[in-house]
């Protein structure tokens, strides 16, 4: 389901616009097959095991009423889901390859792997911090747009100082963090919290965690870029 429209676009453009048969059709189909199979297993496994558990824990923490433990859990959840994010793994590897080609880091596999891992850890740290801020916002009932304005100002300020090469990667990592694993988990956390705290509206207060998780990685990765050069 996730891949069908993508395949249609690629086939239509390849045959209709480029007027060429697809090269290495079997390797391509095999790879697409593996990806579909992998994604199916992945989502199936998440729904069977991790989603129900993560959701029930979000409610359990809300009922327990200890803010410290809740914040610690939010941080760990953000960090752990992001470190394991396949899309981030893919982009970090691409970024390391490009950085090595551009002479920013050594071209040997070890320093490329270290750069990619550093990038992943930075983004994961940023998402952890984002969830902590977002959870505090839901608990205290702060308006979302004020915090977002502050965040945007931070992004603009750090962009001013960051080396040009890192800016694109940094802006991209904001969108990369939050995909198939993170989104349902984090949405369940936010909406569950807003449900269980009196005076909070799930629609107004429950959403917004993902927004923070997309914002802080930009700032953190640019700081990573400033520090590693």
């Amino acid at each position: 389901m996730d891949l069908a429209p993508v395949l249609v676009v690629i086939v239509v453009f390849q045959v209709g616009v480029v007027h060429q048969p697809l090269p290495d059709l079997f390797g391509l189909l095999g790879g697409v097959g593996l990806t579909v199979l992998g994604l199916t297993f992945f989502v199936l496994g998440l729904e069977q095991a991790l989603f129900p558990l993560g959701e029930s824990m979000a409610y359990a923490f809300a009922r327990k009423g200890s803010l410290t433990w809740l914040l610690l859990f939010a941080f760990c959840l953000g960090f752990a889901t992001t470190v394991a994010e396949p899309a981030l793994v893919a982009v970090a590897d691409q970024a390391a390859k490009v950085a090595a080609d551009g002479g920013m880091i050594d071209a040997d596999p070890r320093s490329k792997a270290r750069y990619a891992l550093g990038l992943r850890l930075t983004v994961a740290l940023a998402v952890g911090v984002a969830l902590v801020i977002g959870v505090i916002r839901i608990v205290r009932g702060w308006p979302l747009h004020r915090l977002m304005i502050l965040g945007y100002l931070a992004v603009m300020t750090v962009t001013w100082f960051a080396p040009e090469e890192i800016i694109g990667i940094a802006y991209d990592s904001g969108g990369v963090t939050t995909s198939t694993i993170t989104v349902p988990l984090v949405t369940a956390l936010g909406v569950g919290l807003a449900h269980s705290i009196r005076g909070r509206n799930p629609l107004v207060d429950g959403f917004g965690l993902i927004a923070f998780a997309s914002l802080t990685p930009m700032v953190f990765v640019m700081i990573y870029g400033i520090l590693t050069i």
Binding site: M1, V6, V9, V12, F13, Q14, V17, P23, G30, G31, V32, G33, L34, T35, L37, G38, L39, F41, F42, L44, G45, Q48, A49, L50, L53, M57, A60, F79, V83, A84, A90, Q94, V98, A99, L144, H145, M148, Y152, M156, T159, I167, G168, Y171, G174, G175, V176, S179, V183, P184, T187, V191, P202, L203, G206, G208, L209, I210, A211, S214, M218
Partner: protein, 246 residues
């Protein structure tokens, strides 16, 4: 790297999630795990799925994305000394790719259904999904145009932020959180590698572009524009509702 290497990598990647939840379950919640057998089965599925996914990505999607970008920006489509308009097939490809991948995005479907449920039907899930898909398509098209012309990324993003802030001031308050969230939801495990490959391939093909400076940044556009289209969608819904009310 072979499949075994991918498998070991996947085990290492899933461990932090499992460890976090286990640790808090045992140390803080202090209740036995529900359905340990099902949990273990799911974990095995997650690990196997991630290994297969990464392998397939390396085999098929990354090469295809780069190939399409290379073909569409090659000399058959783009004569020497081409002006930005000569890249129109690339723009159309970026638009279709963004629209198609986002419409089928499972995380977006989940959020849209949740939003409809919570808003009591005031926010229609298909309306939201179409608005987000349109945003991603527009964002990618503009992002590709930026790579072709070589304009600085920060100019567009800062301009986009200003627009988003203006819209936030005007839009109904209940949509704001959802709109900001939909920016992050758009880019799935499938969209991200394809779009990154498109950007990197394009930056490699267009003369005078630095892959590191110009190749990245498409995802940023795909994350920013849905915020605008969703805020705009909410404003339209509100205007229609007022129109009908009078």
């Amino acid at each position: 790297m072979n499949l075994w290497g991918d498998l070991v990598g996947a085990v290492r990647d899933v461990l932090p999630i499992a460890a976090t939840i286990l640790l808090f379950q045992v140390a803080v919640i202090r209740r036995p795990l529900p359905h340990p057998g099902r949990l273990l089965r799911g974990l095995v599925l997650v690990i196997a799925g991630m290994a297969l996914f990464l392998r397939g990505l390396e085999l098929a999607l990354f090469p295809v994305g780069e190939l399409m970008a290379a073909q569409l920006t090659g000399p058959r489509f783009i004569p020497a000394g081409a002006r930005p308009w000569d890249y129109h097939w690339v723009y159309l490809f970026a638009f279709s790719l963004g629209f198609a991948t986002t419409l089928a995005e499972p995380a977006l479907i989940a959020v849209a259904l949740k939003a409809r449920e919570i808003s009591g039907g005031a926010i229609h899930d298909w309306g939201l999904r179409l608005a987000v898909s349109l945003g991603v398509a527009l964002g990618l098209t503009l992002g590709v145009y930026r790579i072709v012309t070589g304009t600085g990324l920060a100019v567009f993003i800062v301009g986009g932020y200003v627009l988003v802030l203006l819209q936030t001031a005007l839009a109904p308050r209940m949509i704001v959180g959802l709109a900001y969230d939909s920016g992050g939801v758009t880019t799935s495990t499938v969209t991200v590698p394809l779009v990154t490959a498109l950007g990197l391939g394009l930056a490699r093909s267009v003369p005078g572009r630095d892959v590191l400076v110009d190749g990245f940044g498409l995802i940023a556009f795909a994350s920013l524009f849905p915020i605008m289209t969703v805020l705009g969608y909410a404003q339209l819904v509100e205007i229609f509702a007022r129109f009908r009310g009078e």
